[in-house]
């Protein structure tokens, strides 16, 4: 597959992934452009891989996280979510109907937590695939996802209390 054919076929999907990761249209365009530039430099190797699409997504996600690490200093590790805690829906239905609320809630997540949720629930990747893509252990993926879901629940709680 040529680079041009790949961009034609997968450009829109990459932009959707980048948009979910960044939350901003302009940032998403910049991110996709940067990732594709990296891929273009090594296209022969990318095209020869088992899945060029997975290769490019790996570049894209890791470039996003690297960029965010340079700028973002607010991430603090927290404990695992308590599995025995009373279940609170991640997103109240009313919030689901409000796209801006979800957009805001996603924006409050740490970059890696957000990336894990997007890869797990939008890209439909297994935790092991996410781990391989991010270069971390599968247990770290599960822990990160757990923290991110707990954060979403907390935000949903706060949102409910305000009503």
């Amino acid at each position: 597959m040529t680079f041009e054919a790949y961009v034609e076929a997968r450009g829109a999907a990459l932009l959707r992934l980048a948009y979910l990761l960044t939350g901003h249209a302009q940032d998403a365009e910049d991110l996709v452009q940067s990732a594709l530039l990296d891929a273009l430099r090594h296209w022969r190797r990318v095209a020869a891989s088992a899945s060029p699409d997975a290769y490019v997504k790996k570049i894209l996600v890791n470039r996003h996280l690297t960029n965010r690490r340079r700028r973002w200093h607010g991430e603090r590790p927290t404990d695992f979510a308590d599995p025995d805690a009373p279940h609170v829906p991640v997103l109240p239905r009313s919030d689901l109907e409000d796209r801006e609320t979800f957009h805001e809630q996603l924006g409050h997540l740490p970059p890696r937590g957000r990336a894990v949720l997007v890869l797990r629930y939008y890209e439909d990747l297994a935790d092991e695939q996410i781990a391989e893509l991010l270069g971390i252990a599968a247990s770290s993926v599960r822990a990160t996802a757990s923290r991110a879901l707990a954060a979403l629940r907390a935000q949903a709680d706060t949102s409910e209390e305000r009503r």
Binding site: A12, A28, D30, Y121
Partner: protein, 355 residues
Amino acid sequence: MNDSDEYRIRSALLAEAAQAPAPDGLLERVQGAARARRRRVLGVWSAAVACVGIVVASVALRGVTGPTARPAAPGDGPTTVAAAPAYISCGTGVDVGEPLPQDLPQPKGAYLCAWGQRTYPGEGTWEVVELRRVTGGLSEVLAAFSVVERVTPAPPTGCPYDGVTGPPTVILDLGDHAVLVSPRWGETCNRYVDSIRAVEAMVTEVVSTTRVGQIASPMAAASGCQMAYKNVLAMEPSKDVPALLQIAAQTGPVTVCAYDGSDSSEPPRLDGAVVLFPREVELLRAEVALARRDTFCRGNEHSLFAIVTGSDPVGFSLAVALDGCAVGDWGKVYRGSDRLRAILSDALAEHPVRP
């Protein structure tokens, strides 16, 4: 995490993803940025690549480089403006940097190179480069480029050019040779925006338009299909092939691009295209769902194939051999039914896209 939560997150992410920007011009931006990167890497040798980036190109081709600038009329015919001296061309000259050397002679004129795409009736879409003569605003550019002390915008805000992918390069005509000047370039928001603004405010006229290479044949331009496409069914088989091949329901148009790979000396060429009717899409989905893994059906035993692409946000891309058994994509090969091939062949024959 229960099923309800999972459903809600998936639904919300899908809705969120629908807000993503469209990929219009993505390939051109990447290619323009690649050119700009090569120029930076080459450093002084970048003088050999004296052209503007694709963003500036798109602006220039739309005639907004100045109040009187106009895009060239289609075609490569002679222009009414005077030709440029022989030593003025896109791709020559030495970059003298910024600020301009104090001993630089007064330029006799200036030019810009603008890269872009253009579609010619009956000839498809081509990458073109326009050589543009500067007819106004040069003194402001020279003044901007001559400032020694600069105030750099503070990142990460305050820079309106964050994300611009190529530095505009001005060719200065010194009478017997040309030199180049480019706004200094930084990885982050540290470009001298007054120089860029001055360049963008220049008034220009098109001197010549040169075709660099064909991007799309007339058929490809009319259909939106790629002019050539690798035989993806013949790729190395994937080790992880799901049991069933399924494609999502589509509300938007589904495009079929047919390729002929019978000449092994060149990539398969676009041979036909069609946009399926909704009833054909439903028939297609039903037949695709019948495809099954079959080790006796290989992805390299055909010469004609079609790439079927859905346009919905949850779209799909499917390859179907038109004179073989294979259907699938990305190394995942299944055996498709005769009916599946017939749906596509009939559609291509009955209402094809015509260039």
